[in-house]
Subunit: 356 residues, 2 copies
């Protein structure tokens, strides 16, 4: 063996060793995420961007998450199926969109007359909510995490004022989740329509009314031009979006990247709640000055009472769908009862005292 050959062997061994080290520590994991929202959709879309940016920066580029919006995957309400099938590694959507596929997924977004945002986060993280959500999603091979909260949503936009329960009969309304079932029980025709088609649906009379989110997102959609009656909220007091991950893909990540992803999702979710609060405050202020024709209303007491009664009947019925549904409904009811006493003695008593 010549000197050159020996040197070459030692040198390539060194290179091998170096690139071996590089592979272990620097291997790049790429995850594809599909979101329900259109490209550059504010707040909801900021949540996925915020999460992906934190994950990328914290991992020093080892965790790269690319986000496909609905214009790319063409299936805004098919996120669950695509993540389940492994067509996408991750999803960003809302759990109650999947109630038709699995009733147990209904309860993890928000419930009419249910918990407020801090109450619901406390239920998720300390009251057994995360464990129940895991139980619901395990059989689909999906891990589900909170994905951002809108805070209390507005009751929606209506062409005509709602004065009696009769006014709801025959009303074609975009309203997803359990609230839609309540509206159906009161004689309305609820439907779910992705955000990108909402304005056109209202304009073409496919629907007479719709709820979307609240001032943080509604005003730029222009609904008020067609349906100027804007009702306060009852049906989505704490709408939590959802991050989903294909379980097999998750299992392939090293532990440090799993933790980076878990924390990035958790922070992005909280961050969206605070961003929503800010955007709501700012947009409510400009709404009052820039759009004086919008008529802010609260449903009359008999309408609220009818909604509440329908809710209480339906929830008992829905809980019977499965043993897990019963467990979730019971857990949420018990937690709400406990947490609401505290909400009333703390934040609410404080706000009331300032009226003096």
């Amino acid at each position: 063996m010549s000197i050159r050959t020996r040197l070459a062997i030692v040198a390539s061994a060194a290179v091998l060793l170096i690139s071996g080290t590089a592979t272990a520590a620097d291997k790049v994991y790429r995850l594809k995420l599909a979101e329900t929202w259109g490209p550059n959709f504010p707040i909801f879309g900021d949540s996925t961007k915020n999460m992906a940016a934190m994950a990328n920066k914290m991992s020093n580029g080892r965790l790269k998450i690319t986000v496909d919006s609905s214009n790319k995957h063409k299936s805004p309400l098919g996120i669950f199926d695509m993540v389940k099938a492994g067509q996408y590694d991750m999803g960003h959507s809302a759990s109650y969109y999947w109630k038709g596929k699995d009733i147990n997924t209904l309860f993890f977004t928000t419930m009419p007359f249910g918990m407020t945002t801090p109450e619901q986060y406390a239920w998720f993280y300390h009251g057994g909510g995360m464990e129940l959500m895991k139980e619901a999603y395990d059989k689909h091979g999906i891990l589900s995490f909170p994905g951002g909260n809108t805070g209390n949503q507005m009751g929606g936009w209506f062409r005509k004022e709602i004065n009696t329960v009769e006014d709801l009969k025959g009303l074609k309304m975009r309203i997803p989740g359990f609230a839609g079932e309540i509206m159906a029980k009161l004689g309305a025709s609820p439907t779910n329509i992705p955000s990108g088609e909402l304005y056109t649906s209202l304009e073409r009379n496919t629907i007479d009314a719709l709820e979307w989110v609240g001032p943080s997102l509604d005003l730029r959609m222009g609904f008020h031009k067609i349906a100027p009656y804007y009702y306060t909220g009852w049906h989505e007091p704490a709408t939590e979006l959802q991050f989903m991950i294909n379980q097999k893909k998750w299992n392939k990540l090293p532990e440090d990247l799993q933790e980076i992803l878990r924390v990035a999702m958790r922070t992005a979710a909280y961050d969206m709640y605070i961003q929503s609060y800010h955007e709501s405050a700012v947009n409510w202020e400009t709404m009052l000055t820039d759009f004086p024709n919008i008529k802010v209303k609260t449903f009359p007491k008999p309408v609220m009472d009818a909604m509440r009664a329908a809710n209480d009947e339906l929830i008992i019925e829905r809980a019977k769908s499965s043993p897990l549904a019963q467990k979730i409904v019971d857990s949420q009811a018990a937690y709400l009862k406990k947490a609401r006493v505290w909400t009333n003695i703390s934040d609410r008593a404080y706000l009331d005292s300032l009226d003096n």
Copy 2:
């Protein structure tokens, strides 16, 4: 040069190269954190443990944060000085404890009659709060971040019922921050005492009354055995603790570890808010059954009015302390006004509607 020599040179170059790679990617950064709280202090202490654990796991052991409690450093109210001097790299405490050292630090914990927790987080992250806090801490060579929120705090424990403003005169009360100044204006003698000495101070009549946090932390302290009147809150609607980092130490961290630390602190802060909410709800429930002798009270309207009037006068005075103080006071007032309209139309209107 012999073959052996040449081989040896190439081999050591390879080893150098490999260990060089290892140093860049695997160098362990150790940070020492001092917290105001005693060892294993619940909730507040959980926040530092949560933050350190996330940082350690996300960095795969490259960021190691050790936490010294007050039994170790013996200076519960000296955290600011120790971080400023570089004696500790990080701290966990409350910004309003430093108002005597720098008046501009007063405003970043909570203010009497001020913002609620989501309102205040929105101000920090979207309303200019973080930028103002940076301005206040820059000259001390410290970076300051939200460190965990208690939610709305209770008004405190009193031996005797407070029926009139006269009852506050001469009252020796542990109450820190701006609320202490309000109490002083009404004739009380406010003081700040670290948590570890609170019970003894009450027992030995060093103080007649105290506020600490709320049901999440107060009940295990035993205050109710001596001072059974428990007042609802007015003075700390959104108490945010504080993470501090010595700026020079921060600058030495690589960018990925800076982001890991930033996100770990941010998440731990939000997490503590939710944990506090949970513990408050749980403890309030057990308080009502286990400690029926506790008398829950709200200050009578004339007392609240006097506190409010003192607050409004004092805040104008305090704002004159420095141009930055004026900027902070104005920013908080403007943001509160905007955010409160939204709080009232959303969460509060929702809670009110359920009383129907």
